[in-house]
Subunit: 504 residues, 2 copies
Amino acid sequence: MKSQNAISPTRSEDFPEWFQQIVRAADLAENSEVRGCMVIKPWGYALWERMRWVLDGMFKATGHRNAYFPLFIPLSHLAREAAHVEGFAKECAVVTHHRLEMRDGKLVPVGELTEPLVVRPTSETIIGAAYARWVKSWRDLPVLLNQWANVVRWEMRPRLFLRTAEFLWQEGHTAHETRAEAEEETLRMLRVYERFAREYLALPVCVGEKSAGERFPGAERTYCIEAMVQDRKAIQAGTSHFLGQNFSKASDIKFQSRDGGIEHAWTTSWGVSTRLIGTMLMAHGDDDGIILPPRVASAHVVILPITPKEESRAAVLAAATDLASRLRDQRFDGLPLEVELDTRDVGGGVKNWEWIKKGIPLRVEIGPRDLEQGTVAVSRRDQPHKTKSFLTVEEAVARLPEILGDIQANLLARAEAFQNEHTRKIDSQEEFKAFFTPKNPEKPEIHGGFALTHWDGSAAVEEQVKADLKVTIRCIPFEEAPEPGICPFSGNPSPQRVIWAKSY
Amino acid sequence: MKSQNAISPTRSEDFPEWFQQIVRAADLAENSEVRGCMVIKPWGYALWERMRWVLDGMFKATGHRNAYFPLFIPLSHLAREAAHVEGFAKECAVVTHHRLEMRDGKLVPVGELTEPLVVRPTSETIIGAAYARWVKSWRDLPVLLNQWANVVRWEMRPRLFLRTAEFLWQEGHTAHETRAEAEEETLRMLRVYERFAREYLALPVCVGEKSAGERFPGAERTYCIEAMVQDRKAIQAGTSHFLGQNFSKASDIKFQSRDGGIEHAWTTSWGVSTRLIGTMLMAHGDDDGIILPPRVASAHVVILPITPKEESRAAVLAAATDLASRLRDQRFDGLPLEVELDTRDVGGGVKNWEWIKKGIPLRVEIGPRDLEQGTVAVSRRDQPHKTKSFLTVEEAVARLPEILGDIQANLLARAEAFQNEHTRKIDSQEEFKAFFTPKNPEKPEIHGGFALTHWDGSAAVEEQVKADLKVTIRCIPFEEAPEPGICPFSGNPSPQRVIWAKSY
């Protein structure tokens, strides 16, 4: 018998290919003709709209406002911070001309620019130039801005939602009077990301600091949230950078201090992107497709009228329409329930599978027999596709919001259990190597996870482990009372365990 | 005596410079280091956010969904529609390299692309390529999508919010089974724009069709809304294009029709941009700065506590805070009132002027004497800056939403009266020339307006008038019973009067 699941291959058969297939089956996005650039289709974009809306509220609640800065960065600006330009030089799209002309029957770029322009890979330098104009006195601080924008980082091996040449993101950029205030801001926004990931995306992320080798180019400290997905790899889902005075010196953001001196501002930046969507899909999806956490789902419930016989058709459609309208008066998470009513004239099985693959949290079937009995059949996307509960219409109207809350909680609990199951304290090189080595070298099955292993703090150990096993330090987790130990790779003392994993 | 207004020069002294100054005084936007690219500051971006939110609701209510398409267009795609590429060739930013390298101490672009990429000036061709993949049968139609995005059109003479190299916009792109359906869509969205301009921006726009010479490159018909601003020039504030089968043939959007044949789809596109902001500012601003129509204002009311004496300070601040919270429980236009409470420790006059220049619809002052009398002083931005009404606190709480509605209506009525005053039926070349010629050639004072003048439909007349007077046909207005006449420029018959004006 062939698999009875909607997605082929399954997760255990071929995880990367499974991911491509669930994105396609849900009609979320696709590759375009432009290498590495994706088309985000309506069902996928609606997820981003919802995430954007929630995050935007969180940013505003923490005192930030939105603004918009230019897409292009003059080459000389990007070059102002040495580590920064070095970090991004290999992946910059560069605009060199500003016209096209037909020459010898061929359309060619003409009008060469005096100074080439880089399509922003991130905006520290262009925003820094603006802050330098705006900030004159300590009274002008803090500046707390965010922008929602597209950025471009040339990608040799693109992957939908995880690594694309162009992606959508938000980037917060703040400037402060003191080091302490900027550090506080950096951590505040990290915690906003953690809360968003946990409470909305149902992702139990690990929170901590990046090692020096994994820092944002030009940052003094980089903090991150790291999620584990179902092939047990890590995905960096958001970062918050304490930039010290590096960028304010590069961009010359100076101010008159309270005591009359001239000082450089302390800056931060923080961002999350459409990568959050990929992370969420890889963490929760099953072999039938994507599973959307209700709090970010673009729709919560689909009503599927079953109309096998012409004589009962009108009555079923009327009952379905009535149910849809009653459900739309209900609220989930403070907003009206988003209800789809699928009255298309195609087979009930086909429609049901389409919505399963689209990951909608709840499916409600209503057919002639239900009509007689005054019931509907409710299926939860977090349960096997054949599982149904029969509720009266009254019960369905009253209880669906609470069931959505239940699904949200269940997805988080499941992801937490998975992460705990695959997180292990490891104290020897042998065990570490075995943990990160597939048993069958011919077929790199799902293996590994998060290894909590001591590290002596040296770049040499990091590089060696990466070269040997493709395993990196995902973060140095925040711990109240870090327990010292011995680094199994060098035998040197280690201040605390760090999280090692393979990653996207 | 020098002018007692906040903005210098005034509108009548130097309109273009006045516009630069009101944008700066309101802290809406500024030029960046990148030629033609502006930084949209928080007070300006909030306007765009509000407009976006309203328009997005209107698009969804007319059956559209949002998606996102790539920033880059391969040169060969852009070239697929001949008129289209010719129309945009002169203003394309072209990406030719994908890396930077340090060579001889200088950062230079390397990694030349096999095919250059154009930064989208508009997305018909890249979206057309996607629709060609998606549309196979008449059952796949219509496709009704919109995207919110940035676009780039290289500008030699940029002007904040009106003509910038990069700007923010929305572009709707739809594909249909029949010509009639696509034509209907084109006009439906034109009417959405008209309604938005009139009801939200308080702009009484003229609606009609563009002449062939002013059509979107590649369109079969272009419709527009045209606004008159206070120097009596026209601004094209939104366009809706019926593209016929031009782009579907260029992009090969084909489908199996109901009768089994293969046909090309009929497409449309329609867009408005941050130019709407510039239009609104130029239409309503006065010599004290911008005036925001309440329905798109980022904040409706500012409360200005007046605290001249230390002993009454706490009581005034408490009363102001209380008023703010009571006002925030009130609603305007279906949403909570947005209230700013300005407690900064700077002079009351300074603060008052700042908010006047920022165009906030209502200012509410509350000081020690008001406290004694139980009143507040309310100033409307659409009235002279010294005009105040004294209301009791209860009256203020109850009546401010209704006063906002009044301001909204007044701005529209004022703009309508202005437009009527400066719209004239003109039937002779002499009068037409006089209408569009400044009286003092040394100082090109504000003159002209909309001339309703017959036109024989020839490009020759259009070109001649443009060459002579810099006056163009803004639109052929929709009229139920067009009245034929004689074109004063050629003496030939004319089917109807068209709107001629100087324009931005």
